[in-house]
């Protein structure tokens, strides 16, 4: 049994069989074969090996001819590895003595060798593990032949383990068969993590290196509440987690019954609970969880999904879909919030010289830098707004000029639409994401010129604490409970109150029930969170009084360590809603 610790990004507990996802997605369909099949399986293995040898020899010849003998020698080494007598003996032994399927036996043995090399503590050898994985893939490809199963063609439930999953891979996971996933890289605020939350499957990311120890097919437990992955659990642990799985399930069933009840404190204060979405389809998920609107519609997926700039019609259709789910409730559309490196076509213009994308040409800066791109999106938003309560929100605003320029472009677009006699809505509220410390410092000045603020805690924490959560070596320094963050939020609330500007909190912090009493106590009345968190947040709110929340905020704000703040808040949550603390 191995326990690995990572970052919990999507709650829940799940137990199942491992599917390791490489760059080529092989799935080992069967770990064991029956005793009478052993002979024929051994034969299948030997035939495959011979095919693999001749394939490598052909590669060696090609490489030598075209590139020179020294490159051919690399394949010569691969061939020698594939012919290694010790390797072959070990694999054959597992097949004949333990009835392992050839696929499972190869994977096991090669991964063990790879692990040994990685553990020698020498960079060169660690990198050689890649050559072994390459050999593993080569053998599996031949062994599986037509039986190779792709991720999209799953037929049985699995838990996906991968080095990394791209947002689109995550989005394509079939919830029927993918019970949960865990990755070596990634952070709490990565798109992959956000999508996992949206899919409502337990997920842990940022585990660091661990895949070399896993071959696929064994049991694994994903604890998305604590960020733990347990490989090859023993019986006792397994039983313990199965019980927990049940418990979590029954709590979420009870929470689901809150759906139609209002998010209201014991003393009668209404709190708005909105959903964060990435895809239009998620609007329905939000409805299912009782969200009263969309507080953050991230539009990046429109740009990431294809290799083309989305057309005005693409934007319009996506927005229409969300609005049709929420025709009478707020739908807050955030304009493009990614870096130029991720947007097709603009990439060529800026080249590959981006030194630090997080501090580079991104978000509203990119929109203002590329006005045609910006105008396409704004036109679609204004047109779609005809049918609903749409608000437009600019991300990463760091000075007043950016806000004024963005507003100016918005009014230019309105003039164009008017001239072209295309229906649109003129009185669309305009707000900004407050997520750069500079915007907090100037919150009063901004408050005079906007209709609402939305505190984007993910970026605000990243920029304030100078921590990239996706980097496992510093991820632990990313603390929403840091006193500096509390003070910044307080400053925004005070500035906004002077000009009667409503403040929403979005980002991961507003999806964590532990921070709700604090934020309510500080004066926040609107939250936008991952849809699946809404029932929990509602449960907290319905068990809270404003007075109690204010006391909690006052005490939390008097503490000077993130750890103390978070421990205190966890304790308070435990008193308010004991069964939400797992």
């Amino acid at each position: 049994m191995h326990v690995k610790h990572g970052i919990a990004v999507s709650p829940g507990v799940v137990t199942g069989e491992v599917l390791v996802l490489g760059t080529e997605d092989f799935r080992i369909p069967q770990r064991f074969v029956s005793i009478d099949a052993v002979e024929s399986e051994l034969g299948r293995f030997r035939n495959t090996l011979e095919t693999v040898w001749s394939e490598i020899k052909e590669n060696e010849r090609l490489a030598s001819d075209r590139l020179g003998d020294q490159f051919g020698a690399i394949f010569g080494a691969h061939l020698q590895m594939a012919r290694d007598p010790k390797l072959i003996a070990e694999i054959e032994q597992l097949i004949s003595e333990r009835s392992f399927s050839p696929e499972y036996a190869c994977s096991r043995v090669l991964r063990r060798f790879a692990g040994e090399l990685q553990n020698l503590g020498n960079q060169y050898h660690a990198e050689r593990a890649v050559d072994i994985f390459d050999l593993e893939k080569r053998i599996l490809r031949h062994l599986l032949g037509q039986r190779r199963e792709e991720l999209v063609h799953l037929t049985a439930p699995v838990i996906v383990l991968a080095h990394n999953l791209t947002p689109s891979e995550t989005a394509s996971l079939d919830r029927k068969f993918v019970l949960g996933f865990a990755t070596e890289v990634g952070g709490r605020t990565s798109h992959t993590a956000i999508l996992a939350g949206a899919l409502e499957i337990p997920a842990v990311v940022g585990l660091g290196h661990f895949l070399a120890d896993v071959s696929g097919g064994e049991m694994v437990i994903i604890d998305g509440n604590h960020g733990e992955v347990i490989l090859d659990p023993d019986e006792e642990t397994l039983a313990q987690y199965r019980e927990l799985e049940q418990q979590v399930h029954s709590v979420s069933e009870r929470l689901a019954s809150l759906k139609t009840l209002p998010a209201e404190t014991i003393d009668g204060t209404r709190i708005a609970l909105w959903g964060n979405i990435e895809f239009p389809e998620e609007a329905e998920v939000c409805q299912g969880h009782g969200a009263e609107g969309i507080g953050l519609y991230r539009t990046e997926f429109l740009y990431l999904e294809t290799n083309q700039i989305p057309s005005e019609e693409d934007h319009y259709q996506a927005y229409r879909k969300v609005i049709s789910a929420y025709p009478d409730h707020p739908v807050t559309i955030r304009t493009l919030d990614i870096g130029a490196d991720k947007v097709p076509e603009t990439h060529d213009e800026i080249g590959d010289d981006i030194v630090n994308p997080v501090l580079g040409l991104r978000s509203v800066r990119l929109s203002l830098h590329n006005l045609p791109l910006f105008k396409i999106q704004l036109r679609a938003i204004l047109r779609a707004a005809v049918d609903g309560d749409v608000r437009v929100m600019f991300p990463l605003v760091s000075n007043l000029l950016e806000l004024r320029q963005a507003r100016m472009i918005l009014s230019d677009v309105m003039d164009d639409l008017e001239e072209q006699q295309i229906p649109f809505r003129r009185d669309v509220p305009v707000g900004i994401m407050v997520e750069v410390p500079a915007a907090v410092m100037l919150a009063e000045e901004f408050a005079r010129e906007v209709d609402f603020f939305s505190i984007g805690t993910n970026d605000l924490i990243q920029y304030t604490l100078a921590v990239d959560r996706a980097d496992p070596s510093v991820a632990a320094l990313y603390r929403p409970g840091d006193p500096s963050i509390l003070r910044l939020i307080r400053a925004v609330i005070i500035a906004a109150a002077k000009y009667d500007v409503p403040v929403t909190v979005c980002g991961q912090m507003s999806s964590d029930p532990m921070f709700i009493p604090l934020l309510v106590g500080m004066g926040i009345r609107k939250f936008s969170s991952t849809p699946h968190a809404i029932p929990e947040l509602k449960e907290v709110i319905r068990n809270l009084t404003i007075e109690q929340a204010e006391q909690i905020a006052e005490h939390a704000e008097s503490l000077d360590l993130a750890r103390d703040v978070e421990n205190y808040l966890r304790g308070e949550l435990n008193r308010i809603c004991p069964d939400l603390v797992f």
Binding site: Q70, A73, D84, L117, D131
Partner: protein
């Protein structure tokens, strides 16, 4: 005619005993019927298996003992020693492999 043979060699490769030299040792060793081991301090590797050889993690400058026992033991050790003496130069792809 059972015999034993032994010789000490020095690794003179910038990247140490990396993948290609290991494969050349294994390829040479498997041509001989005798048992051949390569020893580095307290670790010993079967010269006919390159995965074993890789785990020796023999860096530049390390001293290795070639040991053979059985038929053609002397010839085997000589053949391997020649590889080291020539610095695997026939097909050494250099530092990146």
């Amino acid at each position: 005619m059972n015999q034993t043979a032994q010789q000490t060699v020095r690794v003179d490769l910038e990247q140490g005993l990396h993948m290609v030299p290991c494969s050349l040792i294994a390829r040479t060793a498997e041509r001989f019927p005798c048992e051949i081991h390569i020893q580095k301090e307290d670790r010993s590797a079967d010269a006919k298996t390159m995965l074993d050889l890789l785990t020796l993690s023999a860096e530049n400058g390390s001293m290795l003992v070639l040991q053979a026992s059985g038929e053609e033991a002397r010839a085997a050790v000589d053949a391997l020693a020649r590889l080291f003496e020539s610095n695997f130069s026939d097909t050494d792809p250099g530092s990146n492999c």
